[in-house]
C-alpha cells in the first residue's frame, strides 16, 4: 500500500515538474516572440537604396504626389517607378553609388525591390484615393515623412486606430464592415 502511495506521489511530482518546465519554456518563447520587434509603430526597415525623404521631400520640397502619383487616383498608392527617379537623376548626382543602382535598374529593366513599411493584412481593402480626395493629409497617417531619413511607421495601422477616425462624426466616414472587408 505504501508503495502505491509513493508511486502515485512520484507520478504526481513528475507531472508537476514537467508541467512547470513546459510552462517556463513556453513563456520564455512567448515573451521573446511578442517582445521582438515586428511590424508596428517604430518599424523602419532598411531599403535597398537608402532613399532619404528628408532630402527630397524636406529640403528639396518635392510634392508627395509627384512620386506617389496614384495615391489620389487608385485604391493602391504607388511607389514610384524607376523612370520617375530617372526624371531628375539622369543628370543629378550621377556619380553617386546609390544613383548608379537606379541607373542599373533602369538600363537592365530590373525593378527596385523596396521594403513595404506600411503593410496591411490581405483581408483589408484600403482605398487610398478616397482618403486623399476627402482631404486627409498624408502626414495624418504617415507622420512627418519630410523629416524622416528612413521611413518609419508612426501609426499603429490597426483596425481600432482606423475606426477611431472613422467614427468621428465630423469626418462622415463609413463604418460598414464591407467598406474594407470584401
Amino acid at each position: 500500500m505504501a508503495e502505491h502511495g509513493n508511486l502515485k506521489e512520484q507520478a504526481k511530482e513528475k507531472k508537476i515538474i514537467i508541467g512547470s518546465f513546459l510552462l517556463v519554456l513556453l513563456s520564455v518563447i512567448g515573451l521573446t516572440v511578442f517582445l521582438m520587434p515586428g511590424r508596428g509603430v517604430g518599424y523602419a526597415p532598411s531599403q535597398p537604396i537608402p532613399f532619404s525623404h528628408e532630402l527630397h521631400a524636406g529640403q528639396k520640397k518635392i510634392q508627395c504626389l509627384y512620386c506617389h502619383s496614384n495615391a489620389d487616383k487608385s485604391p493602391h498608392a504607388n511607389v514610384p517607378s524607376t523612370a520617375v527617379c530617372m526624371n531628375c537623376h539622369r543628370v543629378v548626382k550621377v556619380d553617386s553609388p546609390h544613383i548608379k543602382k537606379i541607373w542599373e535598374s533602369f538600363e537592365q529593366n530590373k525593378p527596385i525591390q523596396w521594403v513595404n513599411v506600411h503593410v496591411l493584412p490581405d483581408f483589408v481593402y484600403f482605398n487610398h484615393s478616397r482618403h486623399i480626395q476627402k482631404g486627409v493629409a498624408c502626414e495624418t497617417c504617415h507622420g512627418n515623412v519630410a523629416n524622416m531619413e528612413r521611413v518609419e511607421q508612426v501609426s499603429p495601422f490597426t483596425m481600432g486606430w482606423c475606426i477611431n477616425c472613422h467614427r468621428q462624426p465630423e469626418n462622415q466616414a463609413p463604418l460598414n464592415c464591407n467598406t474594407c472587408h470584401r
Partner: protein, 1027 residues
C-alpha cells in the same frame, strides 16, 4: 418529416399550380423531404461511426494540446513584404484600376469588352455597342478567361512529340510546304476573319470549313429555296409569333445570345406594356427553348418534317396559295401520324397567318439533323415565304450571318482526296477531328496518308497525337485578328495580354510561312506581322466606312468602339426573296421516300449549353455549371422519359448500355420529364480522353455513334438497343439539394389574366407580417435588386459571370454530389403539370440581403452583419465556420468552404492560375462561409467614382456581374432610395413579390411573376395540387 405533405394539404390558395423541383420530389415528397431536410447532406458523425474510428470529441481532446502549441507558433515575427514597382510604368496603366478593351470573339464573332488589371485580362463581358450581342455573352463565353490561364495549355510547339522553338518549327514547316505548296489544305471551323481569309486565298491554300455542329441543312436549304447559300439573320426582335421545330435557339442553335436578347425584349412587360410575343415549340428533347415556350409539344424526332408539312399545307390553304404538293398532309392526316391534336395545329396555322410578316418559323437544331433535315428546311422556308416573313423577320440579303460557312460535303471530298494521297500538307485549326468526328467517318485512316499534318491546338489532345507538327495556338486574347459576324459588320480582335507561352495564332503562322508559298505571294506583299496584315485589311474597310476620317483616326475609333460597319438603316434595305417551288417538291418527295422504320428507341444527340463541342472540357467552371435543363454536372447521361424508364425498370443513375449500328456505349440514365416515350437523348462534347487534368475522362463520348454518309452527320439514330448493366453511378445534380417544404417560391399567370389584374398569380398567405424589431433606416443608399422571371430563360450566363468575378471555386463531382457546390447564384427550376410535358419556371436565387436577415442574428462572432446601405455583408476573417447562418437561411444561399479551395495557405497556385483571380475580391480559405455580396467590390468602386465627381451614384455606375452578363436584362440592380433609378421603379411593379415574404425576412430582391402568353392559366391536373 411529413411536414411537406401536411403543409401542402393545409394550403388553400387560389389557383396556383403545384410546383415540383425534381421527379424525386414529385414522386416521393415525404422521403425526399427526409433525405434533403438536413442542412448538409453529410454529417461529421454518422450513426455508428463513433464506435469505430475517431469521434469528433475524442479528436478535439487529443488535438487540444498540440492545437495550443500550434497557435503559439503562429505568433512569429511578421515576414517582410516588398513593393515592386515598374521600371517604366506604361502610360495607360494605373495599378489598382482596371482598363477595358474592346475586342471580338474569333469563333462566334460577338463583340467583347475585356477587363484587364495590370496588363492581364480578368473578366470578359459583351460589348454594349455591338449590334449582335449588345453587351452580353453566353455561359461559355463568360468562362473564356479560365481557358486563357489553364495551366494545362500547350506551352511550345512540338515536332514529332518533342518540344521545339518556333524558329525550328517554322523552318521545318516551310521546307515541308515549299516542295508542294499547291497541295496545302486547311481544314478549319468557320473562319470569320476577312484578313485570314484573304491571306489564305493569297497563299493558295485550299480551305475547307466545317462547323462543329453542321448547319449544312440550313445552308443548303437556303440555297435550294432561294438560290444563295447563306445563314440568314433571324429577326426575333421583329417576330411576334414564333414556331420552333427542334430549333433550340435559346440554347445552342444559331446565334443564341443574339436570339435570347431579342426574344426576351419582346416579352418584357415593364413600362406598362400589355403585349408579348408568343412561342410555340415542338421538341424531341427538353431544351430551354421549349421550357420558355408559351406552348410546348413533345414530339418524336421522326415527326419534325410531318408537322412542318401539316402547318405548311394549312397555312398555304389559309393564305390562298394552296400547293398541290402538300395535299396529302392535311391536318387530320398529320394529327394521326404525330399524335398532336388537329385542332391545335389548326390554331397554330391560323395564328401564323394572323401574324403574317411578323411571325417566324425556325427549325433545325441538332436534334432535327436526321434524314429529313434538308427537307425540313425547305418546307420551313416555304412556310416563311408564304407568310411573308422573308424580308421581314428573316434577313437573307442585307446583313446575313457569317457564323456558319461549313460544308460537310466539302469534308467528304477532302477525305477522298486524303485517302487518294493527293493532300500533301493539311493544316487543322478550330477542330479536334479525332475527337469530334466519329470513327466511322474514316478521318483517322485518311490522316495517315497525309505527309505533313500541322495541327493548331491549345492542348495535347486527341488529334495532337496523330500530328507531326503540333502548333501551340494562342488564345483569343493573345493575338491580333478581326471578325465579320454578319455581312458588313466588322470588329477588330485585339490582344489584351502578351502570349503567356510560346504560342502563335493561325494568322501569325501563315504570315511567317508566307515565303514558302512561292513568289506570287510576294507579288502581293504579305506584311511583316499579323498586326500589319490586319491593318492592311482595314485600310480597305476605311475606304468603305471611314469617310471623313484619316486612317489612323478610323483605326483608333474602331479599336475603341469595337465595331464598324453598316448597322444603321439596314432594316429598311432588307428585301424578300423569291421561293423556288422546286425546293418544296424535292422536300416532299424526300420525306415520302425517307420513311424511317419505326424502332422502339430513337437516340438524339445534342450539344449541351455548358460543354458545346467539348473544346472547353478542361474548364472546371463549365464542367460544374449545371446543365440549365437537367441541373446535372460533370458528365453526360442518357435522358429518357419517366414512362420509358419505368417500363425498363431503370432508375436515375443506372448505367445503361446503348447500342446502335453495332457500336456500344454506356451511360448513366436520367429520367427527364417532357420527352416522348421511346425517345432517348444524350449530349455531345463529353468523354474527352486528352483534355487536361480536369476534362479527361469526364462523361462518355458519343461521337462514334455518328456516321457521315449523306449531307451531314447523323445525330438522330434509330434502331437503338438499350439494356441495364446492373451497375450504378450517382449523378451530380444540383437541383434536389433543398426542399421547398410546400412553400410558394414562384408565381405565374397568363397574359389574359395579367391584363385584367396585373397582380394576378401572386398569392399572399400572410400579408403584412409584423416584425419584432424596428426596421432599418436607410438615409443614404439602399441597394436593391429586381429579377424578372418573365425574361429569365435559364441560360446560366449569370452563374458563370458571378463565379469569374468573385473567385468562386469549382469543387468537383464528388463534392457536388454532397450538395457542396459553391456557386453564389443558382437557377432553380420549378416544373408544374404532368411529367409528359411539364411547364417550367426558372428562378435565379442568390443572397436576398434581407433586412431581417435570419443569418445575422445567429452568428456568434458577428462575421455577418447588416450594412447601413442594406447589404448583408460577410467578413471572412471573422468567420469561424459554425455554419449556423446557413442553417438559418431559408433560401439556402450560403455556401461553405469545406476544403481549401484556394490554395493560398497550403501551396501556391500553379502558375498562371493566380493571374486569373480578381484582385478586388478576397480568396476564401477553408472553414469560411461565403455568399453573394451584391458585388460589393463594384459597389465600392462605383461609389468612389461618384464621390470623386461630387454626385450620387447613377444607374450605370454600378452593375453587378450577374446583371452585366444577363442577355435578357432580367436582373436590375441599383439604389432603391433614388426614385429615378430603374430598380426603384421596377420594385413598385404590380408583378413584384418577395420570395418567402411570409417569413418577414424583408429581402432586398424583388421577383416579377412569370407571365405566359395564353388565354388562361392551365388548370394543373394530377395529385397534390391546391386549387
Amino acid at each position: 418529416m411529413s411536414m411537406e405533405k401536411n403543409s401542402m394539404e393545409q394550403k388553400n390558395s387560389g389557383s396556383s399550380p403545384y410546383y415540383w423541383t425534381s421527379l424525386e420530389q414529385k414522386e416521393n415528397p415525404v422521403s425526399f423531404a427526409e433525405e434533403t431536410g438536413g442542412e448538409f447532406q453529410s454529417t461529421p458523425i454518422r450513426e455508428g461511426e463513433e464506435k469505430s474510428g475517431l469521434g469528433r470529441r475524442d479528436f478535439m481532446k487529443v488535438m487540444g494540446a498540440s492545437a495550443m502549441m500550434a497557435s503559439l507558433a503562429g505568433c512569429t515575427r511578421q515576414p517582410m513584404q516588398k513593393i515592386v514597382p515598374y521600371v517604366n510604368n506604361p502610360e495607360e496603366i494605373i495599378p489598382g484600376l482596371p482598363n477595358f478593351y474592346a475586342s471580338a470573339c474569333p469563333d462566334t464573332g460577338y463583340g467583347l469588352l475585356v477587363k484587364t488589371r495590370e496588363g492581364r485580362p480578368i473578366k470578359v463581358d459583351g460589348n454594349t455597342d455591338h449590334p449582335a450581342n449588345k453587351g452580353t455573352l453566353s455561359a461559355r463565353g463568360q468562362a473564356m478567361i479560365h481557358d486563357l490561364y489553364d495551366p494545362d495549355r500547350l506551352r511550345a510547339p512540338l515536332i514529332d512529340g518533342t518540344e521545339t522553338t518556333w524558329a525550328s518549327f517554322d523552318e521545318a514547316v516551310k521546307s515541308a510546304i515549299s516542295s508542294n505548296h499547291d497541295s496545302v489544305y486547311l481544314l478549319s471551323s468557320t473562319v470569320l476573319s476577312p484578313t485570314l481569309k484573304a491571306l489564305i486565298a493569297q497563299e493558295g491554300i485550299k480551305h475547307i470549313m466545317v462547323d462543329s455542329f453542321s448547319m449544312d441543312d440550313v445552308l443548303d436549304g437556303q440555297s435550294q429555296s432561294y438560290g444563295t447559300r447563306v445563314f440568314p439573320r433571324y429577326r426575333f426582335d421583329k417576330a411576334d409569333y414564333i414556331v420552333s421545330i427542334d430549333a433550340d435557339f435559346l440554347d445552342t442553335w444559331g446565334s443564341p445570345v443574339e436570339y435570347t436578347k431579342q426574344f426576351s425584349e419582346k416579352r418584357n412587360l415593364s413600362d406598362g406594356r400589355k403585349s408579348m410575343n408568343k412561342l410555340v415549340a415542338f421538341e424531341s428533347v427538353m431544351r430551354l427553348t421549349g421550357q420558355n415556350a408559351d406552348e410546348r409539344f413533345a414530339i418524336h424526332p421522326q415527326n419534325q418534317a410531318l408537322i412542318a408539312l401539316g402547318l405548311a399545307n394549312e397555312v398555304a390553304r389559309l393564305s390562298g396559295r394552296s400547293a398541290s404538293e402538300l395535299s396529302s398532309y392535311s391536318l387530320s392526316a398529320v394529327a394521326t401520324k404525330t399524335g398532336i391534336p388537329a385542332a391545335k395545329l389548326a390554331e397554330i396555322a391560323k395564328d401564323l397567318v394572323k401574324f403574317r410578316g411578323r411571325s417566324l418559323v425556325v427549325a433545325g437544331g441538332v436534334a432535327a439533323k436526321g434524314k429529313n433535315a434538308l427537307a425540313l428546311q425547305n418546307i420551313v422556308n416555304f412556310l416563311n415565304s408564304t407568310l411573308g416573313n422573308d424580308g421581314e423577320t428573316i434577313d437573307g440579303t442585307m446583313s446575313v450571318s457569317n457564323q456558319y460557312q461549313g460544308s460537310y460535303s466539302d469534308l467528304q471530298k477532302l477525305l477522298t482526296s486524303m485517302k487518294a494521297g493527293n493532300v500533301k500538307t493539311l493544316i487543322i485549326q478550330g477542330l479536334n477531328p479525332l475527337y469530334q468526328f466519329g470513327e466511322g467517318w474514316g478521318f483517322a485512316e485518311a490522316l495517315k496518308k497525309v505527309a505533313n499534318v500541322i495541327y493548331l491546338t491549345h492542348y495535347i489532345d486527341e488529334t495532337a497525337a496523330a500530328a507531326k507538327f503540333v502548333a501551340a495556338e494562342s488564345h483569343a486574347f493573345e493575338a491580333w485578328g478581326d471578325v465579320s459576324i454578319q455581312k458588313d459588320v466588322y470588329s477588330i480582335v485585339q490582344p489584351t495580354i502578351r502570349p503567356l507561352w510560346k504560342t502563335k495564332s493561325l494568322l501569325e503562322m501563315l504570315v511567317d510561312w508566307a515565303p514558302a508559298f512561292g513568289s506570287k505571294v510576294f507579288g502581293d506583299k504579305v506584311e511583316a506581322s499579323a498586326y500589319e496584315q490586319v491593318k492592311k485589311t482595314w485600310k480597305t474597310l476605311h475606304n468603305r466606312f471611314g469617310q471623313g476620317k484619316t486612317f489612323q483616326d478610323f483605326w483608333d475609333d474602331a479599336l475603341q468602339s469595337g465595331v464598324v460597319g453598316n448597322t444603321k438603316n439596314r432594316d429598311e434595305r432588307v428585301i424578300s426573296r423569291n421561293f423556288h417551288m422546286e425546293a418544296l417538291r424535292s422536300a416532299v418527295s424526300s420525306v415520302q421516300n425517307n420513311v424511317d422504320v419505326r424502332s422502339d428507341y430513337t437516340l438524339v444527340l445534342y450539344p449541351s449549353v455548358p460543354m458545346g463541342n467539348g473544346s472547353q472540357a478542361n474548364n472546371a467552371i463549365l464542367q460544374e455549371l449545371p446543365d440549365p435543363v437537367t441541373k446535372l454536372t460533370w458528365g453526360n447521361y442518357l435522358s429518357m422519359s419517366p414512362e420509358t424508364a419505368k417500363k425498363l425498370n431503370i432508375e436515375d443513375g443506372d448505367i445503361v448500355s446503348v447500342e446502335v449500328n453495332a457500336k456500344k456505349i454506356e451511360l448513366p440514365a436520367h429520367r427527364q420529364p417532357g420527352m416522348k416515350e421511346g425517345v432517348l437523348a444524350t449530349a455531345l462534347g463529353y468523354g474527352r480522353q486528352f483534355a487536361g487534368r480536369v476534362g479527361s475522362g469526364v462523361g462518355v463520348s458519343v461521337t462514334n455513334l455518328t456516321t457521315l454518309k449523306e449531307l451531314l452527320p447523323t445525330y438522330v439514330l434509330s434502331g437503338v438497343l438499350i439494356a441495364k448493366t446492373g451497375r450504378q453511378e450517382k449523378l451530380a445534380c444540383t437541383q434536389g439539394h433543398h426542399t421547398i417544404e410546400g412553400r410558394d417560391f414562384v408565381f405565374e399567370t397568363s397574359l389574359e389574366e395579367y391584363r385584367k389584374n396585373p397582380k394576378s398569380g401572386i398569392v399572399r398567405h400572410f400579408p403584412d407580417p409584423k416584425s419584432l424589431w424596428s426596421a432599418h433606416e436607410y438615409k443614404g443608399y439602399k441597394w436593391g435588386m429586381v429579377i424578372d422571371m418573365n425574361s429569365c430563360t435559364g441560360c446560366s450566363a449569370c452563374v458563370v459571370a458571378c463565379s469569374v468575378e468573385n473567385n468562386v471555386p469549382a469543387v468537383g463531382k464528388d463534392q457536388v454530389q454532397r450538395g457542396r457546390e459553391m456557386q453564389w447564384i443558382r437557377i432553380d427550376r420549378y416544373y408544374s403539370g404532368e411529367t409528359e410535358n411539364p411547364e417550367t419556371i426558372y428562378q435565379p436565387m442568390l443572397c436576398q440581403h434581407c433586412d431581417n436577415a435570419p443569418c445575422e442574428t445567429v452568428c456568434p462572432v458577428l462575421a455577418t452583419t447588416h450594412s447601413t446601405e442594406g447589404l448583408n455583408q460577410m467578413t471572412y476573417n471573422r468567420c469561424v465556420g459554425t455554419k449556423y447562418c446557413s442553417n438559418n437561411c431559408p433560401y439556402k444561399v450560403r455556401r461553405f468552404n469545406w476544403y481549401e479551395n484556394n490554395h493560398t495557405l497550403n501551396a501556391k497556385f500553379e502558375h498562371p492560375v493566380s493571374m486569373m483571380k480578381n484582385p478586388d475580391v478576397t480568396l476564401r480559405s477553408r472553414g469560411v462561409m461565403e455568399k453573394c455580396t451584391f458585388c460589393s467590390q463594384r459597389i465600392e468602386l462605383g461609389k468612389s467614382k461618384a464621390k470623386g465627381e461630387g454626385r450620387r451614384v447613377k444607374d450605370d455606375d454600378i452593375r453587378t456581374a450577374c446583371q452585366d452578363a444577363c442577355p435578357t436584362n432580367a436582373i436590375t440592380f441599383g439604389d432603391v432610395n433614388n426614385p429615378a433609378s430603374a430598380v426603384a421603379k421596377l420594385q413598385k411593379h404590380p408583378r413584384g413579390y418577395a420570395v418567402l415574404e411570409e417569413l418577414n425576412t424583408r429581402p432586398a430582391v424583388t421577383y416579377l411573376t412569370k407571365v405566359r402568353n395564353r388565354a388562361a392559366a392551365k388548370s394543373a391536373g394530377g395529385e397534390g395540387h391546391h386549387s
